[in-house]
Symmetry: C2
Subunit: 298 residues, 2 copies
């Protein structure tokens, strides 16, 4: 299996799936729909829908029912980026080399497009009620989706992150950094794997295991991000090295040191693999994908 | 029946219901939860949950199942106001004599609090799956809720309204004004009555009739708003008269004239009453409430 080729092929399929769920009808609200489509066509890695789809297959899931949720979680991820880029938040003019939504459509339309994507994620996920998936599983999946994306998940992490930026370095504790990693980053990864399992009929214990695997992967991914900011290669990473230190930003690495951080990534990754092997289901591609998210150079 | 007293009593009950659904747990995201609570405790009229609850009772609905959706629709209404007040939107410092959310918590927290309220509306409505209401009805109600609050409902109307403000008066057509009234205002009124009916077991024809009644009431309500801006009494209305004309704002009244506007309100109101009487269910309080929303001096 050539992982890079496989990922490329599957990502293209996911792009097509997401596009197929975007709204067609246009009336006097055409601008907000354009802004939604511009935002979602960002060339992102689609890692959340990919994890969901692979977990779904791992538990024997078949057919198109999962696609409603694959599109929905990418809409939620996208709206969070659109609002995060706003002038009153991170004030970013570019993302992945492309102008941000408010830069192209104005701030008011970017606020509305973000709102519209979150709202449309709910509409899209509810569309799964028209598929052949058991409605009880859809209800459970909806609850996981909006729990992990809300105040006890992504929005919670986002809030803590925004506030941490205005804190003195001494106030940014290990506990706070962990809260941000778990909620801002890991929560939607957890939702992706849990929903894949739930829709395919995984039982409660299995879904809990998926949650722990995804949490480990999400946290390790973030620590690796901090490590690469110190040790990375400018050419591979495509962004300046050492920016966290120059910005006096408290990171996992500045709190725990480089060696400990590397050891923690290793331990989290190993635990994730062991947990994955406790499941009675198997998906070698998913295992490679999870390890690749952690053990990366960029 | 003393309508004013009844409305006051029922509104107090709804305030308590909404409060009971607001999140308790606080961690590093405490600020966004505070901002959500501040926003929802705005002293609004709670007209949407009231209409939902009364329609639910009209069709024989009993018990607390409807309360999840009563809270959810008020959260959606509230988030739309929080984002609408932002500097990049209407830039309002006060609403109902109280400082707006961004004025108190900052723009970034107001964006997050709005997002959090919309997301929490989904979580709250999904909580109805724990009640004794048939899950199939809950699925239908969720679909109506997010359809009417999204790009083919409230957000659509909001988008058209934002864009209309930058248009030449000659570009603001009757069709556009109707689109804004139907979507920005009527859509959530429609959702309120439809969901009340759906959760209580109203059939498709009855739900369609509820939608038409609510649409008439919503449109008439907005036209009455435009009429009062011309003919209202400053003391009763509590805001300056004639502001639309001074702002060269195109309104229903400026397009159709005062007499025609009054006649249209009368006709919409009459049709709503006739439609209400075609339903086999009855709720005299609801009828008075709907008429009172239209035939008002403030």
């Amino acid at each position: 299996m050539n992982m890079a080729e496989e990922i490329k092929r599957k990502t293209a399929e996911i792009d097509a799936i997401i596009e197929s769920f975007m709204p067609e009808e246009e009336d006097y609200q055409a601008t907000v729909i354009d802004a939604m489509k511009y935002s979602i066509a960002s060339g992102g890695k689609r890692i959340r829908p990919l994890l969901m789809s692979e977990t779904y297959k791992m538990f024997g899931g078949e057919g198109e029912g999962v696609e409603y949720f694959m599109a929905a979680i990418e809409m939620i991820h996208t709206y969070s980026l659109v609002h995060d880029d706003l002038p009153c938040m991170d004030d970013d003019e570019y993302r992945r080399g492309r102008k941000t939504t408010h830069t192209v459509y104005g701030e008011n339309m970017a606020v509305l497009a973000g709102d519209a994507l979150l709202n449309y994620a709910a509409e899209t996920a509810l569309g799964a009620l028209d598929s052949d998936i058991d409605p009880a599983r859809i209800g459970k999946a909806m609850r996981v989706l909006f729990n992990k994306s809300g105040i006890n998940g992504m929005i919670g992490g986002q809030t803590a992150d925004v506030e941490a930026e205005n804190k003195e370095p001494s106030e940014v504790t290990e506990d706070l950094i962990e809260y941000i990693h778990v909620n801002k980053t890991a929560a939607l990864i957890e939702a992706s794997m849990m929903i894949g399992g739930i829709l395919a009929g995984a039982d409660t214990i299995q879904v809990n295991t998926l949650e722990r695997i995804a949490r480990n992967v999400g946290i390790a991914f973030q620590i690796q991000d901090d490590i690469l900011d110190v040790t990375g290669d400018f050419k591979e990473l495509g962004k300046p090295i050492g920016s966290d230190e120059r910005n006096h930003k408290v990171t996992y690495v500045s709190l725990h040191g480089l060696e400990q951080s590397k050891a923690d990534v290793e331990a989290l990754s190993k635990e994730a693999t062991i947990l994955l092997h406790t499941l009675e289901a198997e998906n070698p591609f998913l295992e490679q994908l999870l390890l690749g998210m952690i053990d990366r150079k960029k």
